[in-house]
């Protein structure tokens, strides 16, 4: 087993109202097979035994699919590896002696709750504004009634792969949630089932996004670069077209 020693500078903040600051920890004998979160577990075990308070961080599936984990590592959301969530980032990508600066995803719309834990409910509210097809349970037609070209289904799936982690927002200089919102609008506008509410959905979701205090897109492409699911900014372009189409045809 290979091990490395690291210096960690971690954002510590007691709660939303308290001021926060970086604290420095030295952590030795980190197995390179550990995931980043397991490295934090290891640090927390040490802190607990030393009578200190462990670092709070969100995590759930640890398989890169639930979107719960995430932090900035040396200024990059989810760390340096492309298409990787923090839980799937392994310590073999770092070298002994490295200093890692670890801080929460930052955005006006994501208040810090404690240490690396943030409140991303603004993203939920964007979905609530219209990120669905309004169909009640029961009474759906047979699943094969409408044929959907394989290519269309795959394109929709590319967009639907979004895990809602918020890395796109944290990486955008404008704090925009356009990749997140665009992905959902795109998925549903590509599918025949999404057509009846297409215009209302685009208008409502964009409005919700603005209301939550997210910024606008200025084609920096930072979101795409850090997205763990490689969601393309083409979906932002499609969202913009959907929005324009809807605003021109509004009654």
């Amino acid at each position: 087993m290979q091990t490395i020693d690291l210096t960690l500078q971690i954002w510590r903040q007691k709660n939303s109202d308290a001021p926060g600051d970086f604290e420095t920890y030295t952590l030795n004998d980190i197995s390179t097979d550990m995931s980043f979160l397991e490295m934090l577990d290891f640090l927390n075990e040490n802190l607990t035994l030393q009578g200190q308070e462990p670092v709070a961080f969100d995590h759930d599936c640890r398989e890169g699919i639930c979107g719960m984990c995430g932090a900035m590592v040396n200024g990059i959301a989810h760390g340096p590896e492309p298409e990787t969530t923090l839980c799937q980032l392994h310590m073999r990508h770092f070298s002994s002696g490295d200093t890692l600066v670890i801080e929460p995803f930052r955005s006006r719309a994501f208040p810090v709750k404690r240490d690396l834990v943030i409140d991303r409910s603004a993203l939920d509210r964007i979905i609530q504004a219209g990120g669905y097809i309004s169909v009640n349970t029961g009474g759906a037609p047979d699943a094969n009634t409408i044929a959907i070209p394989s290519r269309t289904a795959e394109l929709a799936m590319d967009a639907a792969a979004c895990i809602g982690c918020g890395a796109c927002v944290a990486s955008c200089p404008n704090g925009a949630a356009m990749l997140f919102t665009g992905a959902k609008i795109s998925q549903l506008s590509l599918l025949p089932q999404g057509q009846p509410e297409r215009k209302e959905r685009a208008m409502a979701m964009v409005m919700a996004m603005d209301k939550e205090g997210f910024g606008n897109c200025s084609n920096e492409r930072e979101c795409e670069a850090v997205c763990p699911k490689a969601i393309s900014i083409r979906h932002i372009a499609r969202m913009n077209r959907e929005y324009l189409r809807a605003s021109f045809s509004e009654e």
């Binding site: 607990t48 699919i65 169909v135 009640n136 699943a143 959907i148 394989s150 639907a160 999404g194």
Partner: protein, 641 residues
């Protein structure tokens, strides 16, 4: 404890129709007078909350995560079964029913499983209507693949992310109801107490995980959808799902059915070190194209690619020619364990076997294989640094799913009136072994299509608005929750001789269960483990140090509470495993095997559901039996050869 399964009369195929006809109803205008609590927002909870709100009830939904889109259903990879028979390969409702009953080794109720098979098709229709991007054929129709334990292709999938897409579909439906004001969504809440008043479930007490507040939530009915208890083993493929809610329900009087029925999934990435926090599943769908093998020569340490074809032992294909690599999970896991126990395993620890895609790549080309499994291959490579296109995967069995859970009747109601359990946290449909791609089916069947009927039936006899949050039972429950929290925190200021962490205790518990209550069990081991539990419990309460205070975001405190409950949960599992002196489904009872060392089921003595009743602290739980009657399937020893 009385166990009335309430299975409707009449022929199997008409039971569900009959049941819906005879169940009570609540008129649309009256539904808004009732409040229903749903705990947990995985597939079962989310679909239930959305559906009940659509029907007009007031719903409060709770989850421990920051958003209802995160629950562990999201990690389900391979797919969801349905008896659509789109591939025209001989499937039917009856066949899905039979496969599921047989796959569960005849330890599930016929009527429940048949209903599940009947409902399966409607789930696919519903999800497509929601915009779930299932995989499609070039002509635009839905694509299918096969899973273990069946000889037809009935599994619908969205790449290797089926669970994610189904959950996001349900999350969309839930979001729509939140927007409409019919669902109050309460994320970052953990249920710490169930409140039972005059014999009926009347609400819950939760801890707000952000500020530590204890909150009272009265309701007219409570639905638990809190997942399985596989994390009792410490290492499992589960995320943060835990046993706390079902343990509270158990202690409040709900029966716990078949607690020892735990599924060990054959294809997981092997554990690498003691720091490891969880195991990662590699979907069963990989066994459609991957071939399981080990070197014929014991101790052959050559690189797998250097071992020629004739020196490889494809033991599953050899032993089970009809099903080959797609035998059910329990069979695949047990065979892997057998090979490894015989010293024939591979990998660093010798606890793994190979899953090889080279034949499939040769046959179909790498592009075709990648189209089906790219995200799984990437995940494997990211964790292990080895490329499955170049070298076979190393896989090992790991705890994955708990078939056991709260006992429920045909209405999915527990032994506490007004308390329902849906999805993995009930015991209802999978017997002693769950077939692949059936968990998603069950979660959504329960949530979208069954619970609505059950809730209406229950509420039709129970007037709304029975209690307030100030009711004395609520105050009592809140005090219990508070005391328990304080007890967990006491070592923070108390000087104890030996200090330990929650994780250390959890790891110890997990190791105990894995070795004595895993794939293979025997009396001596189980009895020994049972004597260890009180020692572990004492050590836990005496030595565990939980930093911080109760009135803040305190993840150590959350974990400590869950591990304390896992210890209690483990005790019931061990009692149940000890009492079931037969091999069946996922576990081999060493005293009950054939001369060829195959599992021997004992229908004469164990064709029943064992239901455990809580009798108080320091008292052993009491077992009740619900006999299982099979009229529409023949009880046969399973054979996949």
């Amino acid at each position: 404890m009385k166990l009335h399964s309430h299975i409707p009369p009449g022929p199997l195929a008409q039971k569900w129709d009959h049941h819906r006809l005879t169940s009570g109803l609540i008129s649309p205008a009256n539904r808004r007078k009732f409040r229903i609590i749903v705990v947990g927002t995985g597939l079962a909870g989310t679909s239930a909350a959305a559906t009940l709100a659509e029907q007009g009830y007031q719903v409060s939904a709770f989850c421990i995560q920051d958003s209802p889109r995160r629950a562990h259903s999201i990690s389900a990879q391979g797919g969801i079964n349905a008896a659509k028979n789109y591939p025209n390969d001989g499937d039917s409702v009856l066949r899905l029913f039979q496969d599921t009953i047989k796959g569960g080794d005849f330890r599930a109720r016929e009527a429940n499983v048949y209903r599940l098979a009947q409902i399966s098709n409607g789930i696919i229709d519903q999800c497509v209507a929601q915009g779930v991007p299932f995989a499609r054929e070039y002509g635009g129709t839905l694509a299918n693949r096969s899973f273990g334990g069946s000889q037809v292709s009935r599994t619908f999938y969205a790449r290797g992310q089926t669970g994610q897409q189904l959950l996001l579909g349900a999350y969309g439906a839930l979001s729509r109801q939140i927007k409409a004001g019919r669902v109050t969504m309460l994320p970052r809440r953990e249920m710490l107490e169930l409140v039972v008043i005059d014999g009926c479930a009347r609400g819950i007490v939760t801890r707000n995980l952000i500020n530590g507040d204890l909150e009272n939530h009265p309701a007219d009915a409570v639905i638990l959808a809190t997942g399985g208890y596989g994390n009792a083993y410490f290492l499992s493929t589960n995320a943060s799902s835990n046993a706390t809610a079902i343990l509270r329900a158990w202690k409040a009087g709900a029966g716990f059915a078949n607690p020892c029925f735990v599924q060990i999934h054959p294809t997981c990435i092997p554990a690498q070190g003691t720091y490891q926090s969880k195991l990662t599943l590699m979907s069963e769908s990989l066994r459609n194209d991957g071939r399981v093998w080990i070197p014929k020569i014991v101790g052959d340490r050559r690189d797998p690619t250097a071992i020629p074809e004739n020196e490889r032992d494809y033991y599953l294909e050899e032993k089970y020619p009809r099903f080959g690599n797609l035998v059910p999970r329990d069979v695949a896991s047990r065979n892997a364990k057998e090979q490894c126990d015989a010293g024939r395993g591979v990998g660093e620890t010798g606890h793994a076997v190979y899953l090889d895609f080279s034949s499939a790549i040769e046959r179909d080309g790498a592009a075709v294989i990648l189209k089906k499994y790219s995200n799984l291959f990437q995940m494997y490579q990211r964790i292990t640094t080895s490329d499955p296109l170049q070298r076979p995967m190393l896989i090992a069995p790991a705890v994955h799913y708990t078939m056991g859970g709260l006992w429920v009747d045909y209405n999915l109601m527990t032994t506490i009136p007004g308390l329902f359990a849906i999805g993995e946290c009930n015991f209802s449909d999978h017997g002693a072994n769950r077939l692949g791609a059936s968990a998603l089916m069950q979660g959504l069947a329960d949530g979208y299509f069954i619970i609505g009927t059950s809730i209406a039936h229950y509420l039709s006899a129970n007037p709304p608005g029975y209690v307030t949050p100030q009711h004395v039972e609520f105050l009592e429950a809140q005090k219990n929750a508070y005391d328990r929290t304080q007890r967990l925190l006491r070592n923070n200021s108390r000087i104890t001789g030996k200090k330990t962490t929650v994780t250390t205790m959890h790891r110890e518990l997990g190791s105990l269960l894995w070795h004595h209550c895993g794939m293979s069990r025997n009396r001596a081991g189980l009895e020994q483990a049972l004597t260890r539990i009180p020692e572990l419990r004492e050590a836990f309460w005496d030595q565990v140090c939980v930093p911080g205070i109760g009135h803040e975001l305190n993840q150590s405190l959350e974990r400590a509470g869950r591990v304390a409950d896992f210890i209690d949960c483990a005790e019931i599992m061990l009692h149940d495993a000890l009492a079931r002196e037969e091999s069946c489904g996922c576990h081999l009872r060493e005293e009950s095997q054939t001369e060829e060392h195959e599992a021997r089921r004992d229908d004469a003595h164990y064709a029943h559901v064992s239901v455990w009743e809580y009798k108080g602290e320091d008292k052993p739980p009491m077992m009740h039996k619900e006999p299982l009657l099979f009229k529409d399937v023949n009880l046969s020893q399973r054979s996949y050869t």
